[in-house]
Subunit: 228 residues, 2 copies
């Protein structure tokens, strides 16, 4: 089942990309086989293949050299197109980002409940309470909301998680155009954060994880992001 | 509960880092309060504080300017020290990386079971079978192993997951010194991969996720990485 909305040429482009990055069938600098061969191998029409190549050229993954053929681009371009280095500056799909939050953040709450020092727990609760106040006073809570979630990630004592978190948020900043927050979102945030804080304070790892999961699922629902 | 083995000065260094990155109490270029004030605020001795500052200086997060005081380093250094950009080139804790795999990879199997195109599923099975053969023939399977896991990540159709995967593996390359593989690791890999492939082929998302979880837990056990 290809993802809804993906055209055949996009899916062929994906396939060629995988032949480069996963199969290592074509390496950087390699010339692709000619259109006839490649369209036979991929079992698509030459029109579709041409469209797929155009997509990859637009992403700097392939380049056409006049009179010479189609080549896999130099390493710099591939890295730029593929790397996580610039993941936070790219416009990623909102759904992809929230799906990642849904996988990742409940686990940060789990490990934070187990591992937070007293000081780290204090910091989490401080931001949680500060955000409550700001919501009740109708103030902009963006920064404090992030500090709340970041301080949880820090308390996991896992360097990778700790560093992934800001990247996730930066990507969200670049990719997400949120609709105006309504009363229900604010009320849910108040309730969810209170739950998360209670379980963290009780050092209940499963509770904290589940409360965080609810929080992200509810955010997705409130933002109209499908969770399927 | 501070993590076992973390000294008091390391934990104070952590705390100062959080005051910069989470609390935004000190910004880039800011001068820190003098030793007396800061040690009182952090409730630690001046000796401990000095050691903590030394750690942060070594990580380019703080810098001491002779006769002027201690300052938060320029943004470039902070970014370099903090960013995920170079996460894959840093030596990260093996446990941190496997913990992240444990969170992340079962979910890739889950979404791959739901979303893989027929072609993507074919690619996953191709690498799975190729790896089986290589294990049985005592050949080096490092590359094929990675292609197997990467092709699963690709089949999630989630751009963020797809890009996170190579970073995770690059970091593992840099950080992990694996002991020689023994018979039991090879046998477990054979069994686990077969399970993962079966569930993926049956498009059983929960099954694929659980089989992948077993696979990572077992790898951690075989490598002696604590899972707690």
């Amino acid at each position: 089942m290809p993802r809804k909305g993906k055209s055949l040429s996009e899916s062929v482009a994906d396939d060629i990309l995988a032949m480069i990055t996963i199969d290592k069938k074509f390496n950087i600098g390699d010339k692709l086989p000619n259109e006839n061969e490649l369209s036979t191998e991929l079992k698509v029409s030459r029109t579709t293949l041409r469209e797929a190549i155009r997509i990859l050229v637009a992403h700097n993954i392939l380049e056409i050299r006049r009179g010479k053929g189609t080549f896999v681009s130099e390493i710099k371009n591939i890295t730029e197109s593929m790397g996580l280095e610039n993941l936070s500056t790219q416009k990623l799909d909102v759904k992809d980002l929230y799906e990642m939050r849904l996988i990742f953040e409940p686990e940060t709450a789990y490990y934070a409940a187990k591992r937070a020092t007293d000081k780290e727990l204090e910091r989490i609760l401080y931001y949680g309470r500060l955000e409550e106040e700001m919501i009740l006073n109708n103030e902009d809570r963006t920064e404090v909301e992030r500090s709340f979630h970041k301080s949880i990630a820090k308390a996991t004592h896992n360097e990778f998680m700790n560093k992934l978190m800001p990247i996730l948020y930066k990507a969200i900043d670049n990719g997400v155009i949120l609709s105006d927050e309504n009363k229900s979102i604010l009320q849910n945030t108040l309730n969810d954060h209170r739950m998360i804080m209670e379980f963290l304070e009780a050092r209940d790892a499963e509770g904290a994880k589940t409360a965080m999961k609810i929080h992200i699922i509810r955010a997705m629902k409130d933002l109209g992001i499908p969770n399927e």
